[in-house]
């Protein structure tokens, strides 16, 4: 093999066969967050108010509930990767790092699950409850 980085290695065919996927996913979820969060904030802003009945009726619509669920998944995925990098950069003791990353995974998956479940509950019971 010559010197320098061959294009094959750059494309993930180096000895590890992988490497850039974390970086790429961080960008892909960032782009998703731009779309979904801007949509979310504009939608909230356009609602006449944030009273209980208005918010539940809004969240109950399929074209709101589905993007909201996607937003929760995308958001927690992005923050999991972001906080992982922060932890890896500042927590140096191996045991503490392992424990912190474990907690981060519980937090990210648990938070996303609770948020998505809440949206699903509203979407499936909207109309019935009101």
């Amino acid at each position: 093999m010559g010197t320098g980085t061959g294009i094959g290695r750059v494309r993930g065919l180096g000895s590890a066969k992988t490497g850039a996927h974390h970086w790429i996913q961080q960008r892909v979820t960032a782009a998703g967050n731009v779309l979904l969060l801007v949509w979310f904030l504009i939608s909230l802003f356009k609602l006449p108010g944030l009273e209980y009945a208005e918010v539940v009726a809004w969240l109950g619509q399929p074209l709101v509930a589905v993007p909201m669920m996607l937003m929760l998944a995308n958001l927690f995925w992005h923050l999991r990767m972001g906080l992982q990098v922060v932890i890896e950069d500042y927590v140096h003791e191996e045991g503490t790092k392992f424990g912190t990353l474990l907690l981060l995974n519980f937090y990210a998956i648990g938070g996303a699950a609770l948020g998505i479940f809440a949206i699903a509950k509203i979407a499936f019971t909207a109309g019935a409850a009101s």
């Binding site: 782009a31 731009v34 922060v86 809440a118 509203i122």
Partner: protein
């Protein structure tokens, strides 16, 4: 330098306070009127407004700073002067967007 650490700080804040606030809001809405009104009472308290305005700024700072990263990712904007101008613009835009948004929200309440 500052823009980079601000990206981390705002990202960490949004990932913790922001994400928990969002999930609290959704959980409260799914739990019923009483839980939702508790959330609204907290969110519209003086501390609630302070947190929300802080999160708005953190969101815009992280958003604009993130868009700057996309530009850097395609290999553009590394010249010292260009880089500095874009960095300063990110700070200015984030504060301006936060200010305008909250002026409109609070003006609508009066």
């Amino acid at each position: 330098m500052a823009i980079s650490i601000f990206h981390r700080i705002t990202g960490s804040g949004l990932a913790t306070v922001g994400a928990l606030g969002l999930v609290w809001w959704l959980w409260a809405a799914a739990s019923g009127k009483a839980a939702y009104e508790t959330f609204i009472a907290c969110a519209t308290s003086p501390i609630g407004y302070l947190v929300l305005i802080g999160l708005t700024w953190a969101f815009f700072q992280h958003l604009f700073s993130g868009l700057r990263h996309f530009v850097l990712d395609i290999g553009a904007g590394y010249e010292l002067k260009t880089n500095k101008s874009w960095s300063i613009l990110v700070f200015v835009l984030a504060i301006a967007a936060t200010g305008i948004l909250w002026l409109v929200i609070l003006a609508g309440k009066i």
